[in-house]
Symmetry: C2
Subunit: 372 residues, 2 copies
């Protein structure tokens, strides 16, 4: 499962158990609403194999982290999904799957793991979403190692992905000057929310902005102390939760529901406490079917995720996801998205794929839990 | 089942059993390939309710003929479909469903019925396809009565539908001068195959052409004699088949496979033996999903054939046919055609709907009888 790191790095030779003292935290949450009906509340995005590789997104995330963290992997997921998570990652120790009673966004999820790891004496932790697709594991590893080195120095380090186009779908991290003694690492001036395409173009032109992939590498104690500067009660609650695991059901509902970006990263950047390392690897958060289509195939083709023999087409391009036994025939339509599952079918286009959220919202309003 | 004719007609008062001596022949064949996967070889088009009326196309055809022919209805269908036909039309006598061992096109089908009816002494017969959709039954009845009157005089009469646009999808009948003594009836100069849209426009502009709906009204003996002028062996074989019903399996395979239009109507028109009456009713051969979509709804809407509660849409127009239990969601796509059945799904557009034939041909070539 673990493999020695092939590239050179500055922290010493590769260890068959990865970077010493480094823990990977994998938040496995998110409904994946824009990937309905493939993604359901009962079986969200990270539990699916969206690349046709034979490994689910969650499993691919764990695979990618193995050379860096060995068995030091902690998954944070919803209680409804813990069984599926354990089934997909049988090698992860029981105690290393934290099961949230309800969704409280990323600060609580990552912060809880940080508090547990702090008690265990973990040196550095890195947070890596369970449902992103990354190519070039070697470049990924190099970026993580660089971030770990910065984290050891007390920084809240984040990996900034080299942007390949002026995307309006991602947040950006704006970097400043290089940090002395940390090769390739720069200070962070701030984070920006998803910009317009126009503004994103200026970002790319300036060369000072990268995509914020939400990958934070930091000492657990530093993370919680930074949180404490903004919300001391929240940080304390998380530390107490780690000290008293049985208090989960009682404490959890009162934890603030806030993203780590807002809770810690943005204020810390304003205080000059954040560093960024460049991520020169392919990265996709596979947010919707348009994104998935682009990931899996060429625009001039009809890509199939699933059993190809079940699909027949004539002059059609786009994406077909086959999830039932039906034959799917697509004729004379470009950039189509057809998602065929046993109990629900979606037909849309790549351009409009995001709007499936409206359908899911309507079904939820109708109480159709069986479908959402 | 029969109802008195409400409109005035020239042949005398309406009879509760329809037009005396008049038999309706209903050829129920045709694979309906362009309506796959709704239409299958095992359950072709005419067995389906395509108008959402609760009655299938076959049943609607029979209903329409009841005021004109009473119980004097003969259905010609494939052996594979005779059980379904009898089930849908339980009131039709056993002997009045002729079951073809194999498809031999329309001359054999209609000619066989003609030969049987000739032996029975039927006065006049009319042939009406099982899978067309007609509106305004009153105008239909009036046209048929007019055609029967011409047929009594020895003519091969055909109903020409007033064209509403320059369709390239139908054949046309070109009429000449009015026939003396037969109100509204004209001679037929000839038949033309499906023209280009450009040529069709000139037809409409001239006012001398109507759509050929393939509805022929004629004395059975006249039809067979006209056939005998072109192909005496064929006419003889049909008459011998009617005389010796047990010879069906033996005779059938050697019958020519030819449409009645080519076998009789065109040569008879050249010989001045064909008359046409105007059909001022809505008529659609529902050849493909584009046609069906136009029949069922407005272009600016998403029309559902099937269970509406199973369809969710956002900013979509076109046609959804629901034939399974699952939810169908259509988002941001215009003029779409989605045909959802238990074992096959079609996604196309109204404009390209005809091309489903290529998919069916491919499946047939692969031997996928289970699907076609």
């Amino acid at each position: 499962m673990t493999s020695p790191e092939a590239t050179s790095e500055q922290t010493g030779s590769a260890h068959s158990a990865g970077i010493e003292g480094f823990w990977a935290v994998v938040p496995a949450g998110g409904a994946g609403t824009r990937l309905w009906p493939l993604s359901r509340s009962g079986a969200p995005k990270f539990l699916h194999d969206l690349t046709g590789s034979g490994r689910t997104l969650l499993q691919q995330t764990r695979d990618r982290l193995a050379p860096l963290a060995g068995d030091r992997v902690m998954v944070v997921t919803g209680q409804a999904h813990q069984d599926a998570v354990r089934e997909q990652l049988p090698e992860i120790a029981v105690d290393n799957v934290l099961a949230e009673p309800s969704p409280r966004d990323s600060m609580a999820a990552i912060g809880w793991a940080a508090a547990v790891l702090e008690r265990q004496g973990a040196e550095v932790m890195g947070s890596f979403a369970a449902d992103h697709v990354i190519s070039d594991d070697s470049a990924f590893s190099a970026a993580v190692r660089s971030a770990v080195q910065a984290a050891r120095g007390g920084w809240l380090a984040t990996i900034g992905i080299e942007p390949t186009f002026a995307s309006a779908a991602f947040g950006y991290v704006r970097h400043g000057d290089p940090l002395p003694g940390l090769d390739g690492v720069r200070s962070v001036i701030g984070f920006v929310e998803k910009p317009s395409v126009q503004v994103a173009s200026t970002y790319l032109a300036s060369g000072d902005y990268r995509w914020n992939a939400g990958m934070f590498v930091v000492r657990p104690g530093v993370l919680l102390d930074l949180l404490a500067e903004q919300d001391p009660r929240f940080a304390l609650a998380l530390r107490e939760l780690a000290a008293e695991p049985d208090s989960l059901a009682e404490r959890w509902p009162s934890l603030p529901k806030i993203a780590i970006d807002h809770a810690v990263a943005e204020p810390a950047a304003a205080d000059g406490r954040v560093a960024t390392v460049p991520g020169g690897f392919g990265w996709d958060d596979v947010g919707d079917f348009d994104s998935l289509a682009g990931l899996l195939g060429e625009r001039a083709a009809l890509t199939v995720l699933g059993e190809e023999s079940r699909v027949r087409s004539s002059d059609a391009t786009g994406l077909v996801v086959t999830g039932s036994d039906r034959l799917v025939a697509v004729v004379g339509i470009d950039d189509v998205v057809v998602v065929d599952t046993e109990d629900a079918l979606l037909v849309t286009t790549r351009e409009r794929a995001q709007e499936v959220k409206a359908i899911v919202a309507a079904l939820e309003a109708e109480g159709r839990d069986d479908l959402t």
